[in-house]
Structures are given as C-alpha cells and as structure tokens.
Amino acid sequence: MIRKLFLLICLSGLSPLAGATGSSLVATGGITSFEGTAGGGITPWAMIAGYGSEEEIHGTAALQQLDLGEYQLRTFGAAIGIYDRVELSVQRQNLKVGSGITSNVFNLLTQGAVSTAPGTDIEQDIIGLKVKLFGDAIFAQNSPWPQVSMGAQYKKNRDFDTSLPLSDGSVPLPQTGVPMLLGATQDSGTDFYLAASKLWLGAAWGNNLLANVTARMTKANTFGLLGFESATDDSYALEWEGSLAILPSPSTAVGIEWRTQTNRLGGLAEEKTVTDFFIAYFPNKHWSLTAAYVDLGNLPFDDKASGLYLSATVNL
C-alpha cells in the first residue's frame, strides 16, 4: 500500500503533465473521499474533482487506507472534472476482514462447533457522477448561498454472495457472502445526494473556513460494504453528512466530519454515526496528503471500530 502511494507520488512528480494540473487555486479541489468523489474523507463536497477551471478538464487519482485492526479498508480510484461542472469517478474498495472476525461469525453460526476460520475480503466498486447545480463556493464571498451539486453513486458489492470457507477449505454455506449472512438482500444500489459547500475567506481570525452539508438518499448498509436493503426494508432513507474545516495556512486544512447511517440491518451489523477528525496537507497543486482519525462506531464483532485513515490525492 505504502509502496503504491509513493509510486503514485513519484509518478506525479515525473509526469510530463506536471505543471499542468489546472488553474483553480490550491486546496480548492478538496481531497478525495473513500467513495471516490471529491470531498472530505467520508463525504462528498459540492466541489468538482481536480483543479480544472470552467474551461479545463483535469482529474485526480487517489488512494485511501483505514486501519481498524481486524478490519482494513483499502480504496483507490480516479476522478475526472469536466469544465468545473461535471465529475465522473470510479473507485474500488477492499475491506479485509480478519480471521478473528470470521471465526466469531462461524462460532456464532455453529454455536461454538467451529471456532476458527480464515479471513476474507469484501470488495465493492463505485461509479460516481456529480453535477454542479449553482453557486460558487469560493468566490461568491458576498452571498450567503453555498455551491450546490447533485450526485449519484452506483455501488456494486462484488462479494455479496462470496461464501466464507472454513480452514480446511470446505464451504458450509455456499453462495452466501458476509452481507447476506448479516441480512442484506441486494448486491447493488444507487445513492443520490445533494451537497452544499462554502468557503469563507479570512472568516476565522483571518483563516479560511469551510463548511459542507450533504443529504444522501441511500439503501446501503455500511456504505454498501455490507450490501443493500434488508428483508423488511427496501426503501430509501435520508442520511446527513457534514464537514467543518479551518485552513490555518495556505497548505493545511484541519477539520471534523460526520455521517449518519440508516442502521437497517441492526444486530451485529448495527450502524452508528461515523465521525472523523482530519488534517490535510496541500504542498502544491500536484498532490495532497490527509491523515485522519475515523470512528465508524460499529462493525460486526468490533464495537469500537475506529482507527487511522490515510489518503493521498494526485492531481492530473
């Protein structure tokens, strides 16, 4: 992972595109969320990916890692920003589930008869589309209106029905993946969101202040990593997300974020509000690095699912 990260950064330095990442001001592109859209760490913002102005097409490539101990979430993808109006993104997510967790699953399913099992991976692909509707988050300083964008994220869980093997390789529950075991009934879903973002120049003791609010309609369980819908609930739920950040220097942003979840499955897969505290570093327009402490609240058999999040975005 770290190797890949450095490779990306080095590539960006050597790239013939270096020096041509777009005209917009540094840091105004935000970072890349773990779902692949330009935004904060866990939520989309109304900004369009990359530093392209309304005459330019630019993009980003990014990777993220969240270390939760028995769970490891690794994600990467790319986004393209077209004329500061439309953003298209693709993202691959890989959630490594440790054997401690899968062992617990079998222990529970077999009432203690099976108590060890190898770990597994849950992968998900996300295709994102975002369109800026109106507003100028950065330059409309004399207006209370934020920049507002509308977006959709089509998510396909690739391991919805990937069965868990036992240590001896046998598969006691064929065609039944972790999302199904926990009660999800669909392997894909589409989230729709509205994001409103605004930056106030010099507003916080001379520092720039950024706020974002996102409303999301979703059928996902834990972002879709645990599938979509349930036997008793197949309708959209409205969830709220937000970010508040201060930029104490031209190259740094520190802030907090939150994101509510539906908790459709309950039980082991109970969902809580996700929160994080982040520091992002934008040394120049070529790349940015973000470190965060993310608290997911709960994941199956881990009721203190929190850990260090690292994310790198390269601007192309």
Partner: protein, 142 residues
C-alpha cells in the same frame, strides 16, 4: 429537497453571520494605500510578464492600472478611498476573460502580497473583498 434547502440556508446563514467581521482596521493594519500600491506594483509586473495574461494588457499603462487597483482595493477593505475607475463589467468588456485567467491573476496578487510581507490572515481578508468581483470580470463578452 425542501427540507434540504431549509437546513442548508439556516446553516450557511448562521455561519455567514458568525463569519462577518468588522473590516475597518484591516486597511491601517496593513499600512494603508502605500502597501497596497507596492503589492499591485509587484503583481502588475508579474502579470505583464505572464505569457497567458500579458497579451491582454498590451497598451494598458501600468501606472494607471496600479493606481486603479490600489484605489479599488483600498475602498473595498474599508479604507478612506473612492474608486474612480470603470465598473468591473465595463473594464473587462470585450476581453472575454476566462476563469482560468482570473485565477491566474489572483495567484499573482496572492504571491505579491506574500512577497511584500502581508500575513496569511491579511491576505485572506483582502481576497475576501476582491473575490465577489469575479462574476463581473469573467466572460463579459468579446
């Protein structure tokens, strides 16, 4: 959609309320028009030498532009000046200034403010005063 807009507007209006600060001391804090004139003197040199921006300014006297920008910024940050130049729409009409060119120019002004020694906080507050001009500067027709 409706509840979203209500939440959004209340939230951002509240934040805007907190964010509005008195500006009257910024002008004297930075050293008044003398400092602004230095900033724009430097910025204009950089702008005229810029391969993308330079051509726009052919035949525009540096000293006049410097004087106008100083006056305008002084007035916008609450200084004792009256801007006597053309409106932004008028000045940039028939130039078809792009957003990319606008950001480029802002970067030169930012750079000049740093080189002259303004603090990041002062720079942000000055930019906050200039930023709303964007919509009257870009794409004012050819």
């Amino acid at each position: 959609m409706k509840s979203f807009l209500i939440v959004i507007l209340t939230f951002f209006a509240l934040l805007s309320g907190c964010a509005t600060q008195p500006k009257q001391d910024l002008y004297s804090e930075i050293g008044g028009s003398a400092t602004l004139s230095k900033v724009f003197g430097l910025a204009i040199n950089r702008i005229y030498n810029d391969p993308v921006l330079g051509p726009h300014f052919e035949g525009v006297p540096k000293s006049h532009l410097r004087e106008m920008l100083t006056e305008q910024t002084c007035a916008l940050i609450g200084g004792p000046c009256e801007y006597t130049g053309k409106s932004m729409q008028e000045a940039h009409q028939e130039r078809d200034v792009t957003a990319a060119e606008f950001y480029r120019l802002v970067e030169h002004v930012q750079q000049a403010m740093r080189l002259i020694g303004l603090t990041y906080e002062q720079e942000n507050r000055i930019l906050a005063a200039l930023a709303p001009l964007k919509k009257d500067i870009i794409y004012q027709g050819i």
